[in-house]
């Protein structure tokens, strides 16, 4: 279907534009009761009112003209505009390691959406490449678009699709590393999912996003992409990792383990943090410094995408005043698993205990994590914890609630046997459970600079 020539306009505004036989991108002279304006008619946001025409003046500024003042519109030209970055002007070096960049949408690929006036993911990976030609200096990067998705629209079926594509790239096309552009909202979920699904990974799978869309001169996408491709090309990692800004400045990126990373700020560039541990490494200006050694190394061989999942799992925070029917509903609608983000050491209020008990009796797996995010749960310390354990709740050790959710989706795809599920949920599979929590794993290590934290600590 051809695109609506008056996209975004409806009601009276559309009527008047039709009356004067003009459309989006018409260059026009508009006469109003007050003045005469020349410019280009722009598509209008569907969410805006129907009483204005959006005009880009010759000076480049946009304004809204109230239609009830319009006395005449004359078309003087027409030039449809396409917002596409020019074809990348780079020469690929086939001798360089072959890296594949798969696009899944997200801010890193965002531009203006006339329907809403906000941004949507619309840039192709090729355009990203055009934006960052330096990538050609690092590797032979091939780009391919998987989805144009807003991160919040991700779901387990898509994890499976991504995993299969990654498997194909590595096993069939011999990629030396995979970079995955992804929206940041749920990037941590996908990185955890791929960590469980992709077995025996021989090369790094580096997930990357951006917090400022790439249509802004200040976008963090550029440095994040360079860093991610560097890690995919040069690092000796054989795991799923996330590589994003380490600080608010455009200096270094941090490499986070896929199962321990979480978006901790709505909008900062350095929103991604390794929780309860120190990051795997640091990347800056083409150099990688590993901060630890307990990661799977790059190797020969094939990856296996173990894609069995069961999406009938819920993730629920407990809170003062939570109603038992939140749990009851899940039981009544046939869920197979519930991950609780409990309070403190892993607690839930007395008024939902009966419902939890019923859930477990009806063979629903209930896993306890903590909404504190940092630290182990400790369900033997207080009486409530012991009650919950006795009831049959599975303690989630020190897994992040989101990671525990992803893991339960994956585990239940493989087995629904009580002992097996309990065994797998409480045993480390992909770095999601930390045995030894280090002293410096609580925030400090990832702050802007250690000096600054020292200063703050001294002052208070």
């Amino acid at each position: 279907m051809a695109e609506d020539p008056l996209k975004g306009y409806s009601g009276e505004a559309k009527t008047i534009l039709e009356k004067y036989e003009v459309k989006n991108w018409s260059q026009v002279v508009i006469e109003t009761t007050e003045t005469t304006l020349t410019g280009t008619i722009l598509p209008r946001s569907e969410l805006a009112d129907t009483k204005h025409i959006t005009l880009k003046l010759d000076t480049g500024y946009n304004i809204g003209i109230p239609i009830d003042t319009v006395t005449n519109i004359k078309e003087i030209g027409f030039e449809a505009v396409e917002y596409r970055l020019p074809k990348p002007d780079v020469v690929l070096d086939p001798k360089k390691p072959r890296i594949v960049l798969l696009g899944c949408g997200g801010t890193i690929a965002c531009r203006l959406d006339y329907r809403s006036g906000a941004v949507i993911p619309a840039l192709t990976p090729e355009e990203l490449y055009s934006m960052v030609p330096e990538l050609a200096d690092i590797a032979y990067v091939e780009t391919r678009l998987l989805f144009e998705l807003l991160s919040e629209d991700m779901k387990p079926e898509y994890w499976v699709k991504i995993a299969k594509e990654v498997e194909k790239e590595i096993n069939e096309k011999n990629a030396k590393g995979v970079v995955l552009g992804h929206g940041t909202d749920t990037l941590g979920f996908t990185s955890a999912a791929l960590s469980f699904i992709l077995k025996n990974l021989p090369v790094p799978v580096v997930m990357v996003g951006s917090q400022r869309s790439s249509d802004r001169p200040s976008s963090d996408a550029v440095i994040n992409l360079i860093n991610a491709v560097t890690v995919a090309t040069k690092s000796d990692i054989g795991e799923v990792v996330v590589c994003m800004h380490g600080t608010s400045s455009d200096n270094y990126g941090l490499i986070h383990r896929g199962t321990r990373v979480r978006k901790m700020h709505t909008s900062r560039r350095d929103a991604f943090r390794t929780i309860g541990d120190i990051p795997l490494g640091k990347v800056q200006d083409g150099k990688i410094v590993m901060l630890r050694n307990d990661y799977n190394k790059r190797k020969e061989g094939n990856v296996f995408a173990d894609t069995k999942v069961d999406p009938k799992v819920a993730l629920i925070y407990t809170y003062p005043g939570i109603h038992a029917d939140v749990i009851d509903h899940l039981v009544d609608t046939g869920y197979h698993g519930i991950v609780l983000g409990g309070t403190g050491l892993g607690h839930a209020p007395i008024y939902i205990l009966d419902s939890l008990k019923r859930a477990i009796e009806e063979d629903i797996f209930v896993v306890m994590t903590s909404q504190c995010l940092f630290g182990h749960i400790g369900m033997n310390v207080y009486v409530r914890g012991r009650d919950l354990l006795t009831m049959g709740i599975i303690p989630g050790v020190n897994m992040l609630p989101e990671t525990a959710y992803v893991k339960l989706v994956w585990v239940l795809g493989h087995t629904q046997n009580k002992d097996e599920v309990r065994e797998r949920m409480t045993t480390n599979i992909s770095g999601e459970i930390i045995d030894r929590e280090l002293f410096n794993a609580y925030f400090v290590y990832q702050a802007e600079t250690d000096k600054r934290i020292e200063k703050i600590l001294k002052e208070f």
Binding site: T32, E34, T35, T36, L37, T40, L42, S45, L47, A48, D49, H52, T54, K56, L57, D58, T59, G60, Y61, N62, I63, G64, I65, P66, T69, V81, E82, Y83, R84, L85, L112, D113, G117, A118, V119, M131, Q211, R212, S213, S214, D215, R216, P217, S218, S219, V222, I223, S248, S249, D250, N251, H265, T266, S267, R268, R269, E448, R452
Partner: protein, 637 residues
Amino acid sequence: MSTIDYEKIGFKAGIEIHQELETSRKLFCLCSPELTTDKADFLITRYFRPVLGELGEYDRQMIVEFDKDLTVIYEGYNRINCSYEIDETPPFEPDFESIDICLELALLLNAHIVDELHVCRKNYLDGSVPCGFQRTIYVGTDGYVPLPSGKKIGITTICCEEDAARKIKQEGRKVFYRLDRLGIPLVEIVTDPDCSNPDEVFETALRLGLLLRSSKVKRGIGTIRQDLNVSIKGGARVELKGVQKLDWLTKLVENEVKRQIALLEITNELKSRNITEEMFKYDFKNANNIFKDTESKFVKGKLKKEKVLLAVKLPGMSGLLGKEIQPGKRFGTELAERVTIQTGVKGLIHSDENMEQYGISDKETQTLGKLLELEKNDAFVFVIADEDKGSHALRVVVDRTKQCLEGVPPETRAALENGNSMFTRELGGEARLYPDTDTPPIIIGDRLDKIKKTLPKEPWVLEKEMAEKYDIEKSLARKIILSGRVPLFEKITGIGVSPVLVATTLTQTLVALRREGLPVENIAEEHLISIFKALSKKKIAKEAIDEILRLFAEDPSLTLEKTLEQLSLETMSLEDLQKLIAEVIEKNYDLVKSKGDRAFGPIMGIVMKEARGKIDGKIISEKVREELKRILEAKVN
């Protein structure tokens, strides 16, 4: 060339004014709009990349800025900056107080007001805005400002926008900006290029300045910035930025006109020499060999530090590099400045210079000419630098010289104190504008009706009316308008005191006290009203005003009664005054005897010491004169 026929050369000029508004918050965040000189609490480093405009094109300004390859460092403050200013949080709802001030100005400038406001991004790559664009709201267009002659100067745009960060310094390729100023609401007023001579430019600037300062704006250095747009027939629009004083205007305009004329002369000369674009090549030659045994200390010294001497041919440019384009500034100097700004490379040498001053021999010059295959009319340029930087520098030289074929390149230049100007960046076009995707459109609605109801008069109308109504000089009326205190002035004169006294107090007295360093901002309207009420009831004399204001400035919690106590400024009765005068004359009888009439001065001085501020000085002098006369006459008799 001191008398330029502006009509003949097709002179056109317009003005662009940026004025900070007086508001309680910044335009898109809730931080306090204030500047600081403190040491930064944190530094943030960023790089910028060009992006496409809304119409899918790159703006040339951005490409050239990117070519400068700058690292930008921001100085931030916990007290007055939040995460919005470091581009880490989306914008908050705009400050409607700012928008209202801009709407009021747009109405006073007879503009067409935009009904549905769209926030636009004006992309900048120089680092002055951490997000890479200035958020701008276009509020009005198609207005005018009348000049005293009756000519109307058109107003193209009136925008409400956020101020950029303050550039603090540049160290090599690192540029430092302070975030305090970023986000302070501004009004931007751009006129049409309607001024046809420098006098009209001056008049327009004056009127717009008067208009702005009579509305709710910040005052003081740096709160208003004026730019000039100048062009002549065959030339191009050149923006002169940062005109600090109105007095500079004429000189700047003159020198820019001279520059454009000179550049057009270069264009014509190149055409007559049959020079074409294809003749300009990025064909850079390494000339290290020619200079390997050079006697030139300059070259030798530089080659010790840098890797190569890189030279390039500039076809047809012989004699033109040395052409003066502004007083004391040759085209070659312009090229050198451009290279330094664009690449950081210093010390560009060109063939129109005297090679002897560098100790370069004729033979070396000739050999270099051969290497570059110079023919008649060709010139050369060389730099000594690191290979990459040197090539970058010569690319800039070739590109800029090639532009000579076109005439005057449109660009933004910094206004210098001597009336000349210096290239700073390419002129931004409409391709750098992009809709702000973070903010929905704003409907003006009934805000405009409210503003219309309380719309003040245009200051040039108001000053005339005030002069007539209060019988004061027009210049004094203007001062009151500029001080922003017209309503207070009207309120106080209503009490029944002399308008001249009120006006001088509100303008001169307060200004004098501020210059002394007193915190006059502590003096509130109520303070001033209480003083003039006391004056009208003859509780104090006008001489006391100055002293009372000093006390209020230092301790605004005082009441008028308290200040009078502190100054022991009870009023003096006429009897007490006469008693005092009699006493003083008696004590100084010898002086009176010997000096006669001329004793008035000294006697008056002694009396004033006691009576100042307690009774009107006019009465004192009258009474001293009367008493002296009486005594002296008595003596004669």
